[in-house]
């Protein structure tokens, strides 16, 4: 799997990731996992959902070289016909978007079954 690297300013502020569907009324929820530079899991960085779509990853200095993985789903609401969704993952520093992407499986329709997605990225402090 090709993991994108996202460059952050070493002297900049906190880095965060926002996971939402900004154009459709969909419930998007999940967990952001942290991995060190050797790709060893270090636990959860936080959870995202409608009430809190943004997860703080840490300062640029402390997470340089770390990997992150957003694992979540568009939660089914029993829509008939199935309704459209498009998940957008945005990596921010000081509330400024550095990278915005729709993950694989992040777009489609949702009916009776949750639609899971996963998106991994690496933070490079440079």
């Amino acid at each position: 799997m090709d993991i994108p690297s996202i460059r952050v300013r070493p002297g900049g502020g906190a880095v965060s990731v926002r996971v939402t569907d900004p154009t459709h009324p969909q419930s998007v929820a999940g967990v952001v996992w942290v991995y060190d530079s050797e790709q060893n899991p270090k636990g959860s960085a936080g959870q995202f959902g409608t009430d809190g779509p943004e997860v703080i990853l840490g300062s640029a200095a402390s997470i340089g070289g770390f990997f992150f993985q957003a694992e979540g789903a568009v939660l089914a609401q029993g829509d008939d016909p199935p309704s459209p969704y498009q998940v957008v993952i945005t990596v921010l520093q000081d509330e400024t978007a550095l990278h915005r992407e729709t993950p694989p499986n992040g777009t489609g329709t949702v009916g009776d079954a949750n639609q899971p997605f996963v998106y991994a990225f690496r933070i490079v402090s440079a």
Binding site: M1, I3, T20, D21, P22, T23, H24, P25, Q26, S27, A29, G30, V31, W33, V34, Y35, Q39, P41, K42, G43, S44, Q47, G49, T50, D51, F67, Q69, E71, G72, A73, L75, Q77, G78, D80, P81, P82, S83, P84, T109, A113, N114, P116, V118, A120
Partner: protein
């Protein structure tokens, strides 16, 4: 035998023994007759009003997402100006309703998002070259059971899903897609009790639906203004109101107007009815309904008819009866049609049956 079970057994025996006048008491091998008693009249609106106006329904309905997809789909319905029979699609015309937060704050966005457009074609009749084409809208005006409109419901589900992922621990960074599917399936199973609990709490929330549809006949299948004639139109509305947490009261009205081109052809059909559904506690359920149905025919007023349909069904687990070992459901129903034209006496019957899958559900 407990006092309650003795009571149920006695009640059943009494029902079977009562001479119901012209009505017969019949034991049925399955739930079919029982089910038809409470399903002849639909107390909702058609999920796709367009299809309700067509003589046959397409085997597959295309769920269209974007306006571009809609245009592409429609463009495949004709070849050299002639309509194909058997096409069907549905589409949310207002699918970009903003974020979930915006949706929750604006009832107008909720109505727009829930609105579904449907369209379809069907052969007018066996052997005919005419093609019927229909379009319709389903508009759920009020839906207090809409889970995404309630921030508390959304929060409960999302918290449960997050907890289900956390409980599985972090996945490998290079885990296979199959592994992620497995984790997602596991999370979905873990949150199912939350979904069930939400569904049980919201089963009888206030709902008001509207449906409208129009159908035209394309002569020889030609899809051109001068080859199209209006054929029929339909209007449906249904209202469901909670009465406490155990009762739902529903009302429905439906009207279909048809372009009757020959004497004796049906030109109007209408239904007005009401229903009560009661789920007092445990697995006991009761449904009682009454509806007035009428039909009018062109140039044959002597054929015009109007009748009342009534149906009552009591359903309970077979284990309510002492000595009944097989697990399943017992339904006791009474009803039929009153004062239908050409029939001197009400066609009422008492039915009771044992079956595996329950008929009355919240």
């Amino acid at each position: 035998m407990s006092r309650r079970r003795r009571g149920w057994a006695a009640a059943l025996a009494l029902l079977a023994a009562v001479p119901w006048g012209r009505a017969g008491a019949q034991a049925q091998p399955g739930s079919g007759a029982i089910e038809s008693l409470v399903s002849q009249i639909s107390f909702g609106i058609p999920s796709s009003p367009a299809f309700a106006l067509l003589p046959g329904q397409a085997s597959e309905v295309q769920h269209v997402v974007t306006p571009h997809d809609f245009q592409s789909a429609i463009s495949t319905w004709t070849t050299d100006g002639k309509l194909h029979a058997g096409a069907a699609l549905d589409f949310r015309p207002f699918s970009t309703a903003g974020s979930l937060r915006e949706y929750q704050q604006h009832p107008s966005r909720q109505i727009a998002w829930r609105t579904v457009f449907s369209a379809g074609t069907a052969q007018a009749a066996d052997g005919s070259t005419d093609v019927m084409v229909a379009a319709g809208l389903r508009i759920p005006v009020i839906d207090r059971a809409d889970p995404r409109a309630d921030p508390a419901v959304v929060r409960r589900l999302e918290n449960a899903y997050q907890a289900a992922l956390l409980a599985q621990g972090p996945p490998g960074l290079n885990a296979t897609p199959e592994k992620f599917v497995q984790r997602a399936d596991s999370a979905a199973k873990l949150i199912q009790p939350v979904r069930d609990s939400i569904a049980a709490a919201n089963w009888n929330r206030l709902k008001w639906d509207l449906g409208v549809g129009l159908a035209a006949r394309a002569h020889s299948g030609v899809f051109r203004q001068d080859s199209l004639t209006a054929d029929r139109g339909g209007f449906w509305t249904s209202l469901a109101v909670p009465v406490g947490s155990a009762i739902q009261a529903s009302g429905t009205a439906k009207l279909t107007l048809a372009q009757a081109d020959s004497a004796g052809a049906e030109r109007v059909r209408g239904v007005v009815g009401g229903r009560l559904r009661v789920f007092p506690r445990g697995a006991l359920a009761l449904s009682a309904e009454a509806a007035q149905v009428f039909a009018r025919y062109r140039d044959r007023t002597d054929q015009d008819e109007s009748w009342t349909h009534v149906g009552v069904l009591l359903e309970f687990p077979s284990t309510f009866l002492a000595g009944f070992i097989r697990s399943g459901w017992i339904g006791v129903g009474y009803g039929g049609d009153l004062s239908r034209a050409g029939e001197r006496a009400p066609q009422l019957s008492l039915q009771y049956a044992f079956y595996q899958n329950r008929v009355l559900k919240r």
